[in-house]
Symmetry: C3
Amino acid sequence: MKSYRNELTFQLPERRGFVNITPQVEQSLADSGIQEGILLVNAMHITASIFINDDESGLHRDFERWLEKLAPEKPYSQYDHNGYEDNADAHLKRTVMGREVVVAVTQGRLDFGPWEQIFYGEFDGRRPKRVLIKIIGE
Amino acid sequence: MKSYRNELTFQLPERRGFVNITPQVEQSLADSGIQEGILLVNAMHITASIFINDDESGLHRDFERWLEKLAPEKPYSQYDHNGYEDNADAHLKRTVMGREVVVAVTQGRLDFGPWEQIFYGEFDGRRPKRVLIKIIGE
Amino acid sequence: MKSYRNELTFQLPERRGFVNITPQVEQSLADSGIQEGILLVNAMHITASIFINDDESGLHRDFERWLEKLAPEKPYSQYDHNGYEDNADAHLKRTVMGREVVVAVTQGRLDFGPWEQIFYGEFDGRRPKRVLIKIIGE
């Protein structure tokens, strides 16, 4: 069994945003040399998300509005977590979107359907945050 | 390390529905010959879900109503994604329910609690859509 | 390839609660002797959750309030599942929080960011319920 590990770092200029990280994940997979196995991508911070969906800007605006409806940023005082912090909503939004994805690796490729793309979802940005890629297989 | 891959295809007659796919996943596991490892099942389409819960029709109706409350299908115009499409709600519903499950394989069986069953959740049906099963282990 | 399996059992005194199980998961990883691989932790019951977030009591109160808003426990009659049962809300809450986490194992440790901790989330307590830990690697 082979294993491979890599970290990516993202610093988004706004509080929230989505970044398509599929190219970086594909590069890591190529670097690993693994042909058959399982690939894990997870946010290492608890106010960010990794998820798989469509690379379509209208949908991303829908996600932003929908998450604000489910877990509004303001007023900050509605959350007990917001004593020294103001990011309780970011913890909730990341919970909806998910911490991680697990992807099959087949013949050295991400084994994806036609529209699957991997996104980094930031909900408390403006500082460097890390993403972990771990691959095991042969 | 051994690895195994299979695809299932579903075409549901309605826009939304849940299908218990545990028997097909068990058959794939038997076909793989893998005794100890990890099994991944994921929707290959971004308006469908794989999740684990109870095979109880009342609960499934509750899921349907609850998802319609969290991410209503209509009016279509509430979503930016709905220019050429009308399925933005399906992307959101699938996000709540999840893209994938990872299941332990122990002594050649799905290592499940008493009520765990694997479901395909369709949120934009009436066309063929694929599910990926990947198993690694020994 | 090595594989390791362990079960934890929790009986919470209230209907709902969160327990930091990171120490028990770390102990299982140490017992496994696995240095590089993937670790799966999942609830074996469909009204409980395993998730990764911050060990901060204010945030946990926020989660409790937020989940009650998204999927209220009462009135019980609002859910079709609640014929013989009263726990439909627990199935929905666990869906939001997730069934499982997959964690990278690197150099014999959980490969975590600075604040990541693993929690058992109970939504229908007062009886013994099990959590599965499966690790594969080398």
